[in-house]
Symmetry: C2
Subunit: 165 residues, 2 copies
DNA sequence: GCACAATTGCTGCAATTGCGACTGTTGGTT
DNA sequence: AACCAACAGTCGCAATTGCAGCAATTGTGC
């Protein structure tokens, strides 16, 4: 009871950062993202945004920069710069859309596809190692909750933005 | 079967980013972190690193910058700058340790504590809203797996660093 | 007591990032 | 046809961040 808030509330003492969900998500995500990035950046000199673009194109074959941004939750400027570098390196090809000259279609070049085919298994191996000794049932439950949380936070996030602007 | 890899391998096609665990963690964490940050940054003009420092000091009362960094997984430079600003604003007090002049003890000032006592409940409310309609049992399972994953990724991360340098 | 490695915290610098403004293009309205 | 709002993508700029290197202090071996 060595607290500042003498009343019945004691609102602050309930907060323990290391048990606080958003914080724990950030820690886990940061560590995972970094560890993974280390793998492909050392091998191929590819940064995180660049890899995300490549992953999207590896999966969908042909997308506009806008699509990539939406699918991968990246800012359009981030996408733009990542694409620029990938095009410069010859890993991605950009084809203007003749029906709408504002946008251009992006796709992996042959060298790009070759790198993708090497990195993707590495990523999957990494993921597998992460979940190695966790029972499949637990893992499924985990992913289900994660989906719910993501959806929820998206709604909350939008709500706060709208209400505050 | 409109794929580039005709052979039996098809190693890349297994990777779907939106189902890829590290990616999903990053998305959930980023959204949650941003939504939460919006709350206290609009109300008190406090940034994320600053808030983390305050949260730590609210919980532990007296810590060195080094401790804060270790507990909150922040770089020492990040901590240093966050503390500087908080001290300048009068929200955190810095007391040199007479037994070791390299370090200094940090603690919340009275105004700092007052803000903390307002923000902490907001954070907890936010967390509660996130988990609102998720059964407690599922939530416990989720947190258990999250702990395992975090521990695992920490090991993997360290492993890759050591092996690659 | 003295040299020397280790540690705490800070600063300079470069890279990354997000935001606003801008160009060029499209589609809808009059 | 002319206007104009909406949109895709790029660019400049400022803020944030991490890393290397720094000064100050401690403690350890000789």
């Amino acid at each position: 009871m060595s607290d500042t808030d003498g009343a019945g509330g004691k609102p602050a003492d309930n907060l323990k950062l290391e048990r606080f969900l958003p914080y724990r998500l950030v820690v886990a995500a940061t560590l995972a993202s970094r560890a993974l990035a280390r793998i492909y950046s050392r091998h191929f000199g590819i940064g995180i945004p660049e890899w995300r673009v490549m992953a999207m194109l590896g999966q969908f074959d042909r997308l506009t920069a806008r699509d990539v941004g939406e699918l991968s939750h990246m800012h359009k400027t981030k996408v733009s710069r990542a694409v620029s570098e990938l095009v410069e390196r010859g890993l991605v090809e950009k084809t203007p859309n003749r029906d709408d000259l504002r946008e251009a279609f992006l796709s992996l070049s042959l060298p790009g596809r070759r790198i993708y085919d090497q990195v993707a298994p590495m990523a999957l191996t990494f993921e597998k190692r992460l979940m190695d000794d966790i029972p499949a049932a637990e893992m499924q439950a985990f992913e289900r909750v994660l989906s719910t949380l993501t959806e929820r936070v998206r709604v909350l996030s939008a709500g706060f933005t709208a209400a505050d602007d």
